[in-house]
C-alpha cells in the first residue's frame, strides 16, 4: 500500500481543496476514523512550490508541493491489494428508516466504477418482513462477509478476503467459472457477459481496489471503495446519499460516520436494534441494518423515479397493489 506513485508537477486549487476536505472530515470525526494516510510521505527534493494546508488542529501550515501524495493516481497492484489496510476492520451500517430510494448511491457508484446504467454494485430492494408489515427500501451492497461463501468456492483464489475485512475480486486472476455468483446467497455479484469498449481503456491501470477497467468474462462486485478508504474518504455510496442512510467506519475504532454525524458503532447497533440480513446463514456479514422504524419518508416517495426503474419492482405484490390503486 505504500506504493505511492508521486509525480513532480504543478498543483492546483482542486487538489488543495481535496486535501482540505479530507482533513476537515477527519476533524469532524473527532477521532481519526480513517488515519490520514498522507502522513506517510516520502522525502522529496523540494520543488520550490509551497502550498498552504489546514491541519486537523485548525492551524495553517506550509508544505512543499512535492511532498503531497497524489492518491488517486497511486496504483495498488493486484498483489498489494490482497493485504488490506493495516489495523482496520471496515463495517457499514445502513439506516433503513431514512432510505427513500433516492438512488444517489446507485448512480454515484456506477459513475465511480464506470458501470453501465443497468449494472448495480448496490441495489435497492423493496423488502417486506411479513404480511402485516409495510415494505421498506433496502439498499444492498456486497456484505463483505467474514465467512464468505464466494471466497471458499473460488478455484483460483481470484476472490479473496483481506485482513481489513474487505472481500475483493482480482479480475486478472478470475477464470469466469461463476461458482462464486451461484454460491453468494445475497446475489451481490455481477458478470461481464460481453466485451465493451470501456474495457480497452487502459488510461487508468487496473487495480482490484477500483475494479476499473473491468474485463470480459470475469466477475465483479461492490468493493467498499478501498481506494477512497486509503485517502481517508468514505465510499461513494455513503458520500452520495442525501439522507445520510449509509454509515461507514472501522470496527476496531468502534466508530462509524455518514459524513454528517459520527457515532460509536456499538452504541448505534445496540440502541437502535441493529441486525444483519439473513443472519441464520452463518456468513457473518459486515453490513448491519437499523430497522425501518419511525420512518422519515412514506414508501411511495421512492417511486418518484424513472419509469424504467419503477418497472424493476413490478413483481412485488405491494407494487402491483399500488398500481391498481393508481398511486404510482
Amino acid at each position: 500500500m505504500k506504493k505511492n506513485k508521486t509525480e513532480e508537477g504543478g498543483t492546483d486549487r482542486r487538489k488543495f481543496l481535496k486535501l482540505g476536505l479530507m482533513t476537515s472530515l477527519t476533524a469532524i470525526a473527532g477521532a481519526s476514523i480513517v488515519t490520514n494516510l498522507a502522513a506517510q510521505e516520502e522525502e522529496k527534493e523540494p520543488s520550490g512550490e509551497v502550498i498552504r494546508l489546514l491541519t486537523p488542529e485548525g492551524k495553517i501550515v506550509e508544505v512543499n508541493a512535492s511532498n503531497i501524495n497524489k492518491y488517486p493516481e497511486a496504483l495498488i497492484t493486484p498483489a498489494e491489494s490482497r493485504i488490506g489496510i493495516p489495523d482496520r476492520k471496515f463495517v457499514m451500517v445502513i439506516d433503513l428508516a431514512k432510505c427513500k430510494n433516492a438512488r444517489k448511491c446507485v448512480e454515484e457508484c456506477q459513475k465511480a466504477h464506470k458501470l453501465d446504467d443497468h449494472q448495480e454494485f448496490i441495489k435497492i430492494q423493496l423488502i417486506q418482513n411479513h404480511e402485516e408489515g409495510e415494505p421498506y427500501w433496502f439498499p444492498k451492497p456486497c456484505f463483505h462477509c467474514d465467512e464468505p461463501p464466494c471466497v471458499i468456492v473460488c478455484p483460483t483464489g481470484a476472490t479473496f478476503k483481506r485482513d481489513d475485512g474487505i472481500v475483493l475480486v482480482d479480475n486478472t486472476r478470475c477464470i469466469g467459472c461463476k461458482f462464486c455468483v451461484t454460491s453468494c446467497p445475497y446475489s451481490a455479484r455481477q458478470f461481464n457477459w460481453g466485451h465493451k469498449e470501456k474495457f480497452d481503456d487502459k488510461s487508468q491501470p487496473y487495480s482490484p481496489e477500483t475494479g476499473v477497467p473491468a474485463a470480459e468474462g470475469t466477475v465483479m462486485k461492490c468493493d467498499f471503495c478501498p481506494d477512497l478508504l486509503r485517502q481517508g474518504e468514505l465510499p461513494h455510496c455513503a458520500k452520495a446519499c442525501p439522507m445520510g442512510v449509509i454509515y461507514f467506519g472501522d470496527k476496531n475504532e468502534d466508530i462509524v460516520t455518514n459524513g454528517e454525524e459520527t457515532v460509536r458503532f456499538s452504541q448505534l447497533i445496540n440502541d437502535r436494534g441493529g441486525y444483519r440480513h439473513l443472519e441464520h446463514l452463518g456468513t457473518k456479514p459486515n453490513v448491519y441494518y437499523l430497522p425501518a422504524v419511525n420512518r422519515q419518508f412514506p414508501l411511495e416517495r421512492g417511486f418518484n423515479i424513472d419509469e424504467e426503474i419503477v418497472e424493476r419492482y413490478k413483481d412485488v405484490p405491494y407494487v402491483q397493489e399500488l398500481k391498481k390503486q393508481g398511486k404510482i
Binding site: 430492494q125 471458499i152 478455484p155 483460483t156 486472476r173 478470475c174 446467497p185 446475489s187 457477459w193 470480459e216
Partner: protein, 451 residues
C-alpha cells in the same frame, strides 16, 4: 470346439460391421458432422462475442451447459459403475453388452467436461486452475475426480479391448482386404497378447481389480459433482441427500441410455443373436428398480421441502409450480411414473416398450436436472428486483441448444467410428461364455455317467 476356429468364425461374422459403409450409415455420419459443424460455428460465435450470445445472465449464470455437464458426467460414472458390476460379478449378460457400456462411459466422460468449459468465461486462463490451485474449492475436487476417473476408465476400457484386438490381429494377418494401417494398429494395440492360459488369467485378474476400483471412483466422483451444488447455501441445492440422489439418478439415466444404444446397435447391425430379448428384459427390470429408487429420492427431496415449508423453500416450490409447472409434471411425474407403469408388468417388458421407457426416463432425467439448476438460480434468497427485465428469467438461445446437440452428435459419431474399428460385441466375451457353457455341459455329462 476348437477355440481358434471359433474365433475366426466370429471375426467373419462380425467383421462386415467393420467394413460395411452402407448408404444409411453414410447419411448418418454426414448429418452428425453437419450438426457438429453448426455447433462449431456457435462455439466460435461464443468465443468471439463472449457469453452474451447465451441466455445466461447475472441471476441465472449457469444454464443448459451445466445441465448437459451433469447429464454426461453422470452417464459416464454410471457406465463405469455398470461395467464394473458386470465384470466383477461375472454376469453372463456382460459378454455381449459390456463393450457398449464401456464405450458409453469413455465417450460421455470426454464430452461431459467440454460442457463445463463452455460455462467458463475466460478459457484463455484455464491453466490458472493449475497455476493458482485452491484445494478448498469443490471445483478443484471435481477436476481431480474427473481426471482420475478419465484415466481409470481409459485404462479399464483398453484392458477389456486387448483380447479382441489380439483376435482381430490374428484374423487380419492373412486377410488381404484389411488395410495395412489397421493391421499395424491392431498389432501395436494388442501388445503381444497371445491368449495363453497365464496371460488370460492375469488379464482377467487385472480387469477384476480395475472394475472394483472403477466402482469406488465412480461413487466418489458422483458425490463430488453433487457437492458442487449441495455445499452452497442455496435453497434448492443445500440438501444432504444430493450425493446419493445423483448416484441413483445417474445410474437410472445410464441404464436407460445403454438400453437405447443397445436397441439402435441391435437394429442397425442386426445383432439379434447376441443382444437378445433377455438383455432387454433384464435391462427393463434393472431400469424398473432404479426408477423406483429415483422416484423415492425425488419424492423425499421435494416432500421434505414442502412439508417443512421454510420460506425460501416455499418460494422455490412456487417457482417450480408456476413457471415450470409442465416441466415439473413431465420430469418428476410422467418421467418416473410412466417407465414404472410400463416396466412393472412382465408382459410389457418387450424390446420396443423397454426402449420407449428408457427414452422417457432419459428425457425426464435431463429435465429434472434443469429443474434443479435453473429455478433455484431464479429464486435467490433476496428476491430479484432492481435489475433489468431480461436478467430475471432464463431461456436458452440457439447457440446453447446447438452446442448441446453437438454434444449428442459427437457422442453418436464417436460411437459409430469406434464400432468401425472394433465390433460392438466383445468376441472374447462370447468365447469365454461358450467355453464356460461347454465346461458345464462336460461336468453335467460326467455327473450323468457317474450316476
Amino acid at each position: 470346439m476348437n477355440i481358434d476356429t471359433r474365433k475366426r468364425e466370429l471375426v467373419k461374422e462380425l467383421s462386415p460391421m467393420l467394413e460395411k459403409s452402407s448408404l444409411l450409415s453414410k447419411i448418418w455420419i454426414i448429418s452428425l458432422i453437419s450438426i457438429i459443424l453448426v455447433g462449431l460455428y456457435a462455439f466460435i460465435l461464443q468465443l468471439s462475442n463472449g457469453h452474451e450470445v447465451t441466455g445466461m445472465r447475472d441471476n441465472v449464470v449457469w444454464g443448459i451447459y451445466i445441465v448437459n455437464f451433469i447429464f454426461f458426467v453422470c452417464l459416464s460414472y454410471s457406465g463405469a459403475f455398470i461395467a464394473g458390476v458386470l465384470h466383477f460379478f461375472e454376469t453372463p449378460l456382460k459378454n455381449s453388452i459390456a463393450r457398449i457400456v464401456e464405450i458409453t462411459t469413455v465417450l460421455s466422460l470426454i464430452i461431459g467436461p467440454v460442457f463445463i468449459l463452455l460455462c467458463i468465461g475466460r478459457l484463455d486462463r484455464l491453466y490458472y486452475l493449475f497455476l493458482y490451485p485452491r484445494i478448498q474449492s469443490p471445483i478443484s475436487w471435481d477436476i481431480i475426480a474427473i481426471l482420475t476417473d478419465l484415466i481409470g476408465c481409459f485404462v479399464y476400457l483398453y484392458l477389456t479391448f486387448i483380447p479382441d484386438l489380439a483376435i482381430l490381429r490374428d484374423a487380419s494377418k492373412e486377410n488381404a482386404e484389411v488395410p495395412k494401417w489397421r493391421k499395424k494398429m491392431y498389432k501395436f494395440l494388442a501388445i503381444g497378447y497371445q491368449d495363453t492360459p497365464t496371460q488370460h488369467e492375469r488379464l482377467h485378474k487385472i480387469i477384476r481389480i480395475m472394475s472394483v476400483m472403477i466402482i469406488a471412483m465412480a461413487i466418489v466422483a458422483y458425490s463430488v459433482l453433487a457437492w458442487i451444488f449441495s455445499l452452497t447455501v442455496q435453497p434448492g441445492w443445500n440438501s444432504s441427500i444430493f450425493a446419493p440422489y445423483f448416484i441413483i439418478s445417474g445410474l437410472y439415466s445410464g441404464i436407460a441410455v445403454i438400453i437405447i444404444a443397445m436397441y439402435i446397435i441391435r437394429k442397425f447391425y442386426k445383432l439379434e443373436k447376441y443382444i437378445t430379448k433377455i438383455h432387454f428384459f433384464a435391462g427393463g427390470v434393472i431400469l424398473l428398480i432404479f426408477s423406483l429408487l429415483y422416484g423415492y429420492f425425488t419424492f423425499s427431496e421435494y416432500f421434505s421441502r414442502w412439508f417443512s415449508h421454510k420460506k425460501h423453500d416455499v418460494d422455490l416450490l412456487n417457482t417450480l409450480f408456476s413457471r415450470y409447472f409442465w416441466q415439473f409434471i413431465f420430469a418428476n411425474y410422467f418421467g418416473i411414473l410412466m417407465p414404472i407403469a410400463i416396466l412393472f408388468f412382465k408382459k410389457l417388458r418387450t424390446v420396443k416398450l423397454v426402449t420407449i421407457a428408457a427414452i422417457i426416463s432419459v428425457l425426464g432425467i435431463w429435465l429434472n436436472k434443469y429443474l434443479i439448476v435453473v429455478p433455484t438460480l431464479e429464486t435467490p434468497y433476496l428476491p430479484i428486483q432492481d435489475t433489468r427485465a431480461e436478467f430475471v428469467h432464463y431461456s436458452a438461445t440457439w447457440v446453447e441448444y446447438s452446442l448441446s446437440l453437438t454434444g449428442i452428435a459427437a457422442f453418436c459419431l464417436f460411437f459409430t467410428l469406434i464400432l468401425k474399428f472394433v465390433p460392438a460385441i466383445p468376441m472374447s466375451g462370447i468365447i469365454d461364455l461358450e467355453k464356460r457353457k461347454q465346461l458345464k455341459r462336460k461336468k453335467d455329462n460326467q455327473l450323468a455317467t457317474e450316476l
